[in-house]
């Protein structure tokens, strides 16, 4: 059955936040005059209401059971705290410990724990400085290294890894590796320093714009007293050679992240950042360069979305038709079909 309106797919796009600014305003105006789109919006609302009404009375679940569960939870939390040694020290103690860890740890050779690969995946080799509090684990195709305080030197070998991403979770942000060797330190709930020896990383501190660091660059937190209001929270500078520990002697030679992962991530970042036309170009390049990559369908779809957002109607239709030819039974077929007309 043919859809009643060529813009019907935008109902869902608006609901998911894919329309913004003038695009959104335009569609809101359109919807107030288009019965088909208004019906579609109502149908989606109704669907949610039906699912929401699925379990009536779940809030009234047995109060006694809730109390028992609460008691069990608090007991388990206490046990977990005891298992980890003792209750956590006060913040000023954390700060002192962190400062000591940074002063001693970054400059001295790490000895507190043996170097080891993360869990069962040998992608990241981690060298913690003395006194560093950290943990590592895997979640799907993401390796997550959590740094609470102290300093870590991390080497990521994407050439031998089967996993897609390595994230260092920091007290106030996160650091995403893009095929590299780097050192990161934190204290008192804040990231203190990042120095990149090889490759590059993307540092995201909450409340600040992301910072991309390449080999030889370093980022340092501003001293607490310094910042004037509105100033960026950190500065990028060439890495001081003395603070950048040398790569491990047996570090593998190929330090580059697989190009498809790097390209796809860059594409998504562009799209999220609103650089739609550039994203469309990147997507086209990805589709042409990596036809067998599992993300190629995503990239082809994102190309259509990006072209739509940057107002290239003819190019978008062409991209949509290419998508349909190539992925005739894909999830987004119905949406892309409408876009192709």
């Amino acid at each position: 059955m043919r859809p009643d309106c060529a813009r019907l797919f935008e109902v869902e796009a608006m609901r998911d936040g894919r329309l913004a600014g003038s695009e959104r305003d335009s569609f809101v105006r359109h919807m107030s005059a288009c019965r088909a789109c208004a019906r579609e919006a109502e149908a989606l609302d109704r669907l949610v209401e039906e699912v929401r009404g699925r379990c009536v009375g779940d809030e009234a679940a047995d109060e006694l059971r809730a109390v028992r569960q609460r008691t069990r939870l608090l007991a388990a939390f206490d046990r977990a705290l005891l298992t980890s040694g003792r209750r956590r020290p006060r913040r000023w103690l954390l700060g002192m410990a962190g400062a000591v860890a940074i002063a001693g740890g970054v400059l001295l050779a790490p000895r507190s724990r043996p170097t080891r690969p993360v869990a069962d995946a040998p992608a990241a080799v981690i060298q913690p400085a003395a006194g560093t509090v950290w943990s590592a684990g895997t979640d799907g195709d993401v390796e997550r290294i959590v740094l609470e305080r102290g300093a870590l030197t991390v080497h990521v070998d994407h050439a031998t890894s089967r996993r897609g991403r390595v994230l260092v979770v920091l007290p106030d942000g996160e650091l995403e590796d893009i095929g590299t060797t780097f050192t990161v330190s934190a204290a008192d709930g804040h990231t203190q320093q990042v120095a990149v020896q090889q490759g590059s990383v993307l540092l995201r501190i909450r409340g600040a714009a992301p910072v991309a660091l390449d080999a030889g660059q370093a980022w340092e937190a501003r001293p607490p007293a310094a910042p004037p209001a509105g100033a960026p929270p950190a500065r990028v500078q060439p890495a001081p050679a003395v603070k950048a520990p040398p790569p491990r002697a047996h570090a593998p030679r190929d330090l580059d992240e697989p190009p498809p992962s790097r390209e796809f991530r860059a594409l998504v970042r562009l799209l999220e950042g609103g650089e739609d036309c550039e994203a469309a170009t990147r997507a086209a390049r990805f589709v042409a360069a990596y036809p067998d990559d599992p993300r190629v369908e995503d990239a082809a779809y994102l190309r259509v979305v990006a072209l739509q957002r940057c107002g290239s109607a003819d190019d978008m239709k062409q991209a949509a038709r290419e998508y349909l030819r190539r992925f005739p039974s894909a999830f987004r077929r119905a949406e892309v079909e409408r876009l192709s007309r």
């Binding site: 998911d16 039906e50 009536v56 009375g57 609460r70 913040r91 799907g140 995503d298 999830f331």
Partner: protein, 170 residues
């Protein structure tokens, strides 16, 4: 959250009292097996207590808790799938569950449609449409690209609508 990060047991109790109902509701809707609900709720709040130091400071804790719950649901689902595969390889066995939600009023067609979705699509749909998380928040919580969130939402809506429409046919 600062108190909780400092190991304050009472702060965890307050967090639990404030968000238990909504987190439990999300878990109950997202899991195929009602028998997991209480365990997952416990694990979610325990994880929240243990990782409070990494809380990102957003105004409401609920999206953060929902994200933790979604991660645990995913892990439980994978572990269960592996377990079933092992059992099946040993000659086949029936699995059964007890559902603590027995007293709830359930619309069978909606229940069936929701359970017909894959775990990933169901969780994404519920996070977006029922818990009100934005697509970037979901992508962040699940560790997936935002494009994948959009795809899952689109597919989930389409499948749910198809299933419910088919259910309405005489």
């Amino acid at each position: 959250m600062r108190r909780l990060a400092g190991g304050d047991n009472g702060a965890l109790g307050e967090l639990y009292d404030r968000h238990r109902v909504s987190v439990r509701r999300f878990i109950a809707r997202a899991t195929a097996d009602g028998g997991d609900v209480d365990d997952l709720l416990h694990t979610t709040f325990l994880s929240a207590g243990q990782s409070a130091a990494r809380y990102d400071g957003r105004a409401s804790c609920r999206p953060w808790l929902i994200g933790i719950a979604a991660q645990h649901i995913k892990r439980r689902h994978r572990a269960f799938a592996r377990f079933v595969a092992v059992i099946a390889s040993l000659g086949g066995a029936r699995t059964g569950t007890t559902d603590p939600r027995g007293s709830w009023e359930v619309r069978p067609d909606v229940e069936r449609a929701l359970r017909g979705l894959s775990q990933a699509k169901r969780v994404t749909f519920l996070m977006a449409e029922l818990e009100g998380l934005s697509c970037p928040e979901i992508a962040d919580a699940l560790g997936i690209p935002i494009g994948t969130v959009w795809t899952r939402l689109h597919a989930a809506r389409r499948e749910l609508r198809r299933a419910l429409t088919a259910g309405d046919q005489p």
